[in-house]
Amino acid sequence: MSTEAIPAEKTKRNFNALFGLTLLGLLLLMWIVLAVATPSFATALNITNLLRQGSLIAILAVGQTFVIITGGIDLSVGAVVGFTTVVVALLINAGWPIWAAVLATLLVGVAIGLFHGFGIVKMGLPPFIITLATMTSLRGIGLLMTNGNSISINSDPFQAFSRGSLFGIPYLFWMVILVAIPSYIFLHHTRWGRYLFSVGSNAEAARLSGVNVPRTIFMAYILSGLLAAFVGVLLASRIGIGNPTQGDTYELQAIASSVIGGTSLFGAIGSVHGPLIGSFILSTINNGANLLNVNTFWQRVITGLLIIVIVYFDGLRRRGK
């Protein structure tokens, strides 16, 4: 059906757990190498940093994966992140209680997802187009709301959240766990998860088997929008400002994490642990390069090469050679 399918034709679903493990193996390998190569990698402080740094993209990547499994794509997530930092900042500064501001911001994410579902299902637009349009427009709306400036958030507790820890693990990473566990159950242990896969594999067959395809598509984009808004809230807490230009290229990082984690852009293949590992691989590359004091230009060159190497080895193993 596609060029991507040629080499991967023998993907074995039953290898899935092993595959996750072994991509995890590659991640662990990187950690071991870094722990040996630099004195500062394996310190509590650095591990905390690393967990914080990977968290945002990790959560986005999970949402993106739901969409990609249906055969779609959500280019808007970076813009949603930027936009929702503004929303939550304005609401908090307007004196809303934090919980209410956060809830309302999450609803904004849901609304954006609904809009995407509407564009795809009712207007027949390609997911690429409708989410690209949202990406462009949302940044514009955010800039209009802030007049291009940053909004400083007047709430210390709100900002303290992103710096806090529980049992030595930063709250931000707890949020990843908070998202990952229900997502895992949802994707792999409920019928809606199955429906996502079936729609991505063959929407017509799914439809004729009684799967509500439109509703499934709505669900995927709503989840992606919701998680992006959640990341927006977390980012706002981390940077203490609302700024619509934040989250630039996050969509690309989220998609890349997902694909590195074994998701197929042609749909029907994906997991929750894959994108999580994928995103922490990317953060580890950055963190490691900083600690090793690699020149930032070399850092880009190396990031590209490592992506190739990791996906190549992972692919080799998956094809069972």
């Binding site: 074995k12 679903r13 039953n14 019928r191 429906y195 017509e204 004729l208 009684g210």
Partner: protein
């Protein structure tokens, strides 16, 4: 006999002929499946050699090895006396080996003509001669008697029509050795006859032909010799004149079948569904009634509008006029969701496009319609999920290593069994089976017909669409004949002859339209 085959049953002597292709211990293993155990077999130049066997016996695998689609695990292929690697399709084609594969492997986005000439385009000064190719393609199609346009996009044709194009395509290529893998699975008698004419003509031109089919009468009609595969092993080769159907079936499934068509008559119960002058895209003014305990058969040529009729009934397409009455009450079926809620189930005709999620596991495909039922609260009950899938796999003898294997790794017939199997546990009132036994072996067919009876005995009704006349003929309590979108005749169980029915299905221009109820 020039064959070196070490057959389990000694092959009868044959009229002497030159060996064109010889298989010397040809073997294929997939991960988890030993699909072909070392096979020794020699094909004679100019013969029509049938290959039969159960679903998953290894027939298509053999073809894939011979056409360079898949690499073999071990063994030798000797072409005209010389060993050959057959590593790529290109290599096979260069030798003159071509195939019409079981699954239509063409490009649905390209036109019929573009598909026919794919890889062998006519160019002048580097530019494609598009008009010439369309003309040429049309000539070939017309010459074969197929009523199909060459300039349309392939994806707009039905599966059967695509299958005909795939066959027509083979004639464009300088072929010495041509393989047909279940070419008639989706064809009606009329198209099949056209295809047979083509095959005989090719034979007359000296082409060697391998013919794979689950329809025994075709084998006896066409073949010079027949080989039987069972579980990847070649269990025998026979001259056609020296064997008969029971023997072949016995070789295939290692037991005999008294009768394939299992027909139990139930007293028809209440009306389940009734259409009143239903019209839609591809059919008009169709009135059909299905009662509990009966099978309503729909027969017609390819494109007669039967599939469009049932998919409209099922809410997949909008009706343009008429009414649907469900258990006596008029209903609006606006989506397949509505249909399923009412109690309909549809096993569609095209397993690749409509029936299966090919890159998902067998078990997931089987359970797709019933996930709601096998979930308790929010979560899927893993135990039920396994049990349901395994039950269908056992009941329908779906040959798969485990329920977790991808549907795409199953043989064609076994994929078809999933398409049917997924509805059997659903508990619908009305089952619509559109070409349910396409590519299914005789043993399993008998099994499926028995399952029909079970459904009927539980008070369900069945609409059975088949392009294979014997199937509807032997099973339908009421048989409707479609022609060009209209219901033109209705018969009771075996109340008309095959010839009459065929005549009614064929479009004869002088005949007046309208039914003969």
């Amino acid at each position: 006999m020039t064959s070196t085959a070490q057959e389990l049953h000694p092959a009868p002597t044959l009229a002497p002929g030159r060996t064109i292709l010889e298989l010397n211990g040809l073997e294929k293993r997939y991960p988890g499946t030993h699909a072909l155990k070392p096979v020794h077999l020699a094909f004679k130049a100019g013969e029509i050699h049938a290959i039969v066997g159960e679903n998953g016996a290894g027939k298509s695998t053999l073809i894939k090895l011979l056409t360079g689609v898949m690499p073999r695990t071990s063994g030798e292929v000797i072409w005209e006396g010389k060993p050959t690697a057959l590593a790529t399709p290109h290599e096979a084609m260069a030798l003159g080996i071509n195939a019409v594969h079981q699954e239509v492997v063409l490009c649905r986005h390209l036109t019929v003509a573009a598909n026919m000439f794919l890889g062998e385009e006519e160019s002048r000064f580097g530019l494609l001669q598009q008009r010439a190719m369309v003309k040429e393609a049309q000539k070939i199609i017309d010459g074969l008697g197929f009523d199909l346009p060459a300039h349309v996009v392939l994806g707009d044709l039905t599966i059967g029509q695509q299958q005909l194009i795939a066959a027509a395509r083979a004639t464009v290529r300088g072929t010495k050795f041509l393989i047909f893998d279940e070419p008639t699975a989706y064809l009606t008698r009329k198209e099949a006859d056209q295809l047979f004419k083509l095959i005989r003509r090719l034979k007359g031109d000296g082409v060697t032909i391998i013919y794979i089919s689950h329809r025994m009468e075709e084998v006896f009609e066409l073949a010079d010799r027949v080989s039987v595969l069972r579980d990847g092993t070649l269990v025998g080769t026979r001259n056609i004149a020296e064997t008969d159907e029971p023997e072949l079936v016995k070789l295939m499934i290692n037991r005999s079948i008294e009768q394939i068509y299992h027909k139990e008559h139930f007293t028809p119960g209440a009306t389940i569904v009734e259409t009143k002058s239903l019209s839609g895209k591809g059919f008009e003014n169709v009135s059909v009634t299905v009662r509990a305990g009966e099978i309503v058969g729909l027969y017609g040529l390819i494109g007669a509008g039967r599939s469009e009729f049932v998919t409209t009934l099922y809410g997949r397409h909008k009706k343009s006029a008429g009414q649907i009455l469900w258990q006596g009450k008029e209903v609006q079926v606006n989506s397949e969701h509505d249909a399923i809620r009412l109690g309909m189930a549809l096993a569609p005709e095209s397993r690749r496009d409509q029936g299966l999620c090919l890159n998902l596991p067998v078990g997931m495909n089987l359970n797709l319609p019933i996930y709601k039922r096998i979930s308790s609260n929010l979560l899927i009950s893993k135990a039920k999920e396994k049990a349901e899938a395994d039950r269908q796999i056992a009941d329908l003898r779906i040959k798969t290593p485990t329920r977790n294997a991808l549907a795409s790794s199953l043989s064609g017939g076994n994929q078809q069994k999933i398409v049917i199997g997924k509805w059997l546990a659903h508990g619908a009132k009305l089952f619509i089976f559109d070409e349910p036994t396409v590519g299914v072996d005789v043993g399993t067919k008998a099994e499926i017909y028995r399952l029909f009876s079970t459904l009927l005995s539980k008070g369900a009704g069945i609409i059975l669409i088949s392009s294979y006349l014997p199937e509807v003929y032997e099973l339908a309590d009421t048989l409707h004949v479609f022609r060009r979108g209209k219901l033109v005749a209705t018969h009771g169980f075996r109340t008309a002859s095959h010839e009459d029915i065929l005549g009614q299905a064929l479009a004869e221009k002088q005949e007046k339209p309208g039914g003969q109820k």
